[in-house]
Symmetry: C2
Subunit: 192 residues, 2 copies
């Protein structure tokens, strides 16, 4: 029997590939459910990322400091994963932090243990390959959006694609995600 707290994680996995029961059991063993209060850093800047998180409830963001200014790299919502891949895949300390924006329940998957399971379970390696390929595609598409649309176009696209962000996340975090200052975002919002 699968831990009821892990059901949504395995539903998420099914969007990418099917796992055998043994594989599900093996993954279950390296999952830890944790709850975190909002406005806390789940992982600080400078920490080497050894965890892939799945969000059962809440919102998280990845951010870093550029010349002391807080910059949001990405947001993650319910039923999605979040990880600092540039650290996870290189083993180097991350310049980025993961912060919880709404009281959250997360599933933490230890990446050392996960990667070790790849030899025994090629199906798990495949699953995470597919998840990461999809995330890679999202990132490639994001470059296009950042580089070749105006701030106003990007704001409107975000409102359309993910209205939840605007409702649930402070605008100051959204501004840097869009690549502009908070003042500029406010100006764009005021324009009608």
């Amino acid at each position: 029997m699968i831990d009821p707290e892990l059901i949504s994680l395995f539903e998420f996995f099914k969007r990418y590939s099917r796992l055998s029961e043994e594989a599900e059991k093996a993954i279950s063993k390296i999952c830890k459910v944790i709850t975190i209060k909002r406005n806390t850093d789940l992982q600080p800047i400078g920490h080497t990322c050894k965890t892939i998180y799945f969000i059962n409830k809440g919102i998280a963001r990845i951010y870093y400091l550029k010349d002391g200014v807080d910059i949001t790299e990405s947001f993650s919502f319910e039923n999605n994963i979040i990880a600092r891949v540039e650290s996870l895949f290189t083993g180097k300390p991350s310049r980025k932090a993961i912060q919880i924006l709404e009281d959250a329940e997360l599933i933490a998957i230890n990446s050392d243990l996960l990667f070790k399971m790849y030899d025994q379970f090629p199906e798990i390696e495949r699953l995470f390959r597919l998840i990461m390929e999809a995330a890679y595609v999202d990132t490639v598409n994001r470059i296009e959006s950042i580089q070749f649309y105006t701030a106003e176009e990007r704001y409107k696209a975000l409102m359309k694609e993910n209205p939840d962000v605007i409702k649930r996340v402070p605008l100051k975090y959204i501004a840097s995600y869009l690549g502009i200052t908070q003042v500029s975002l406010s100006r764009i919002r005021g324009m009608k």
Copy 2:
């Protein structure tokens, strides 16, 4: 014996993982060496990407049209791969094209055949997982560079990291890669 034209490809692979001889042989079978003249489109816009290319000689770029204007997404040089991942991994037609900028010798790897080999050769699946993870990390890092540095900073960083680009690629292609117009790039270059 490995076809001498494929040696650099297998050297490239060794940077990520070791392959058994059978696996190398299997990959060799789905590789095709091709030569292409400069200024030709290797794959046109609208085509569904079914090939991963390795560059033995020459330069390629991925570009697309935004409101009729040519935008460079990326460049690839000798001893690297190039593919339109957003099509390769989704099976959807790409809005992007691959163009050859200098007379080139390429190794074309058929992705349908490659992906089919993953069941028989988990080591090949692993190899390409690692290659794509590294490419994903590069892309994440590129977002940071596009979004939070000025055009001038980006130009100087490019000169430092990859002076070859400036020497071998027409500036008009570099400008859109940096996210600015050619006129702006010319202005930045003239500033000192």
